[in-house]
């Protein structure tokens, strides 16, 4: 029977958990995050690094202690004094409680709250406004045109090729609206507010390099705000399963200077 004779030992386990802790934390830390390109994105990356540092340390320490215990107590030697009083055991529970409350609430309330203000707070006065509408399986972008007002839309008028957003002809504000498929142009260094709608199912507007993500719900207008920091083109994708073409709901975001953007906008024809 297995219990007779020398206890089976396995120092490999001690080493396994040393290696596991070190490899995983190192793996997290080696810089997978793509370069950020929006103002609030730095804050998000800071929160991520904060969590990596704090909980990463805890995880590493946990693994090292686990490995150490296995090496030390895996030798089969008798151990005295294994049982501690109820009180000591209770005290040992207070340590992790305080530690985790501190680490996690500092994360949420100290590190993340300023970023929360940037992402969900009052938008800047001069913010650049544009509408993005998700539909299976593309992103439709609408600019208000010279009048600066997004015109009326009517879902009964939606036609895939002729009038993808269902612009209402009788509304003068709609007549100069510019509608584009899958290309969004934004000014650099100025806050953009994107109002988000959906024509069918739930989609999610995400530009990973901006660290931004917001679902588009049918029957509801959501907003997301961010300030692009660098000129260039960035990829726009969908982050909510929306059907068989979910993976190809691709778009591009072109960030350019105010002048270039104004120039480009003036070259676009109104849809109607």
């Amino acid at each position: 029977m297995s219990t007779s004779g020398a206890a089976p030992r396995s120092p490999a386990f001690g080493l396994l958990f040393y290696a596991l802790g070190i490899l995983v934390v190192a793996g997290f830390a080696v810089g997978w995050l793509p370069e950020v390109s929006s103002a609030h994105g730095h804050g998000i990356d800071r929160v991520i690094r904060y969590l990596l540092l704090t909980t990463g340390t805890l995880f590493l320490v946990g693994c090292l202690v686990l490995g150490r215990f296995i090496l030390t107590y895996g030798r089969g030697a008798p151990q005295e004094g294994a049982v501690l009083s109820e009180r000591t055991q209770l005290l040992w529970a207070i340590v992790p409680v305080l530690l985790m409350c501190a680490i996690s609430e500092v994360g949420v309330l100290v590190m993340a709250l300023p970023v929360f203000g940037e992402v969900y707070g009052e938008p800047a006065e001069d913010a650049f406004e544009v509408e993005v509408v998700g539909k299976q399986f593309e992103w439709l972008v609408r600019y208000p045109g010279p009048d600066g007002v997004l015109g009326e839309v009517d879902h009964d008028k939606v036609h895939d090729s002729r009038n993808p957003l269902g612009l209402v002809k009788s509304d003068p504000a709609a007549r100069d609206d510019i509608v584009l498929r899958g290309q969004l142009h934004l000014p650099v260094g100025r806050m953009s507010i994107v109002s988000l709608r959906s024509l069918d199912v739930i989609h999610s507007f995400t530009v990973p390099l901006f660290r931004t993500k917001q679902d588009t719900l049918p029957g509801y207008t959501a907003f997301t705000q961010f300030t692009p920091e660098k000129e260039g083109t960035f990829e726009l994708a969908c982050a909510e399963l929306c059907g068989l073409g979910h993976y190809r709901m691709q778009g591009t975001v072109t960030v350019q200077s105010e002048e270039e953007l104004a120039q480009w906008l003036s070259e676009q024809e109104p849809w109607l």
Binding site: S4, V47, T55, V108, D215, L244
Partner: protein, 565 residues
């Protein structure tokens, strides 16, 4: 008092098919889950193959999302719930409590035979027109409500909903039975604070299950009515498909998400808590010392259970829910790490001044501890609403939840199988094969899901048929091939387990009643345990469940929790 054996059923049908014996029912659940697990893993392999070699277009995009949906559904509800919660729960609770059976054996049998048609419906849904459900295991409307939106939302989604209804009915019967059994059928002297932690975790799991499934049932009923009754609970005005506007109006899709996650989050704990409980029990036996912080562990379980019912919104930070509500959910969610850290500390500290016997079940217990830690590590990134903006719907999430509800649960179920196999069949499993199985499962599986975290950090999005058309996903998809190779290793490794399981059942080394020198009550029953569990009188409990003494001579270092007169 040899009453029990006289009532033992004699015919094959009453003994193995329509049995009311909790051990037979437990095994029926486990074998059903094993079968469904083979299906679920086959789907996982197909998913991996498609992600890794998208240019080969092994499946169509619509089949791909069906695969993902059905893999998730099968794994969560028909593998992990069935094997760990229903299977091991049934087998262990009466044995560990010193009871002859569950409080309601007939209800128990009914519960099993309700879930069997649910499994059949799930399997059948692959064959119907439009294919199996394809709206994700979360089944968010409008996608899940409208066949116009995706082919799988035709008959496939209806079968999915019916299967879920049967599953919920079965699981609720099981949960009621667990609670009644735990509160009523404990052996003499078995106070609540003397129950093994495994039973405590099943208790919490059952409470969470029965309280959180009903709102999902309500959501499922409303979804069925939206689909087939023309109502608009979840469907707003102005849904346009193929240039036609649907007549629905006024509904709100977010309502479904709230009801779904009101179940969905506690369900995570329904699954993971028993895994933690089993780990505690295995740990005590092979560390040969009492569990560190038994009481604080019990209280942590209770706190975790309570908190898990008020944090569901952390799955909805970017859905358009009021961000201030999201902030509340974030503050509440990260608090769960506190009781979880207590559990983690108690697990690790249970090795302090121990005398470890490195038997095979202990491999899995130790492995599970590290995975719980890794899961908790990733969890905070998702619980903090601001960092979740980046991680939501990325492979970070996939890595994280697989560790928690996939790996912790499966590792502990496997460890539990090696540990209680003697009690099930009176034999032991082959140690050599078991070690091979452990190393070829543990190393690759941890690597797979750790790598998925890295993919998520690099921005890889989930539920994607083809990532390669995006530049920003290039870094992440670079890891796809190594992951898939490791997945093949893990999958192959399970064949070793299945072989070992079935061969050892008939040819394994014969085991004594208490082959591991364990203290909990199941080891006072014969191996395999007969109908009624104890041939004579029931055991009487006079101490806490983990009375080991690492200072005593090796053969006399334990005192069983109870004695059989």
């Amino acid at each position: 008092m040899a009453v029990a054996q006289e009532h033992a059923p004699q015919t094959f049908i009453s003994k193995y098919v329509f049995s009311t014996d909790h051990k037979v029912i437990g095994l029926q659940y486990i074998l059903t889950a094993l079968f469904m697990g083979i299906v679920g893993s086959a789907l996982a392999v197909l998913i991996r193959a498609q992600i890794t070699w998208p240019e080969k277009a092994l499946v169509t995009p619509e089949n791909y999302i069906s695969l993902v949906t059905m893999h998730g559904t099968i794994m969560v509800f028909f593998v992990v719930s069935l094997a760990l919660v229903s299977g091991f729960g049934n087998f262990l609770i009466p044995l560990m409590l010193g009871a002859r059976d569950m409080a309601y054996p007939f209800l128990n049998m009914l519960s099993y035979w309700t879930v069997v048609p649910a499994c059949l419906l799930v399997l059948a849904s692959f064959l119907v027109e439009g294919g199996a459900a394809a709206a994700g295991w979360t089944a968010y409307p409008p996608l899940s409500a409208l066949p116009e939106a995706v082919p799988g939302s035709g008959l496939g989604q209806t079968l999915w909903l019916l299967a879920m209804a049967l599953f919920i009915a079965s699981f609720t019967m099981g949960g009621l039975n667990y609670i009644a059994t735990i509160l009523n059928c404990r052996a003499r002297g078995m106070t609540l604070m003397r129950m093994p932690l495994t039973v405590w975790t099943y208790f919490m799991s059952a409470i969470l299950g029965v309280l959180s499934f009903p709102p999902l049932t309500a959501a499922a009923i409303m979804l069925l009515l939206d689909r087939h009754g023309g109502t608009s609970f979840f469907l707003p005005e102005g849904l346009v498909f193929g240039n036609e506007t649907l007549p629905h109006q006024g509904g709100t899709p977010l309502l479904f998400q709230h009801l779904f996650w009101f179940l969905g989050h506690p369900e995570v704990y329904v699954l993971v808590l028993p895994g933690i409980g089993i780990t505690f029990d295995l740990l005590a036996t092979f560390a040969r010392r009492p569990i560190f912080g038994y009481r604080t562990s019990v209280w942590s379980l209770v706190v975790v259970g309570f908190l898990s019912m008020i944090v569901w919104g952390h799955h909805m930070y970017v859905t358009g829910m009021n961000p201030y509500v999201g902030e509340y959910f974030s503050i509440a969610t990260v608090l769960i790490t506190a009781p979880f850290a207590v559990l983690g500390l108690n697990l690790v500290a249970s090795l302090w001044r121990s005398r470890i016997r490195m038997e095979v079940p202990m491999y899995w217990a130790l492995g599970t501890i590290a995975v719980i830690g890794l899961g908790g590590f990733g969890g905070l990134f998702l619980a903090t609403s601001i960092s979740d903006i980046y991680f939501h719907e990325s492979f970070f999430v996939v890595g994280h939840f697989h560790l928690m509800i996939g790996v912790v649960t499966v590792l502990s179920a496997l460890g539990g199988t090696y540990y209680w196999f003697p009690k099930m069949f009176g034999r032991k499993m082959s140690v050599g094969l078991a070690k091979l199985h452990f190393w070829t499962t543990y190393l690759p599986v941890v690597a797979v899901f750790a790598l998925m975290h890295f993919q998520g950090l690099s921005g890889l999005l989930r539920r994607y048929y083809d990532h390669t058309i995006y530049e920003f996903q290039e870094a992440g998809i670079g890891l796809a091939l190594p992951i898939t190779i490791l997945v093949f290793v893990v999958t192959g490794s399970q064949l070793v387990f299945i072989y070992n399981f079935f061969v050892s059942m008939r040819r394994g080394e014969v085991a004594s009643a208490n082959p591991w020198n364990g203290t909990t009550l199941e080891w006072t029953a014969p191996s395999p345990a007969p109908h009624g569990n104890w041939p004579g009188a029931l055991p009487v409990v006079d101490r806490h469940p983990y009375d080991y003494d690492p200072a005593a001579p090796a053969e006399a270092d334990f005192k069983p929790q109870g004695t059989v007169a």
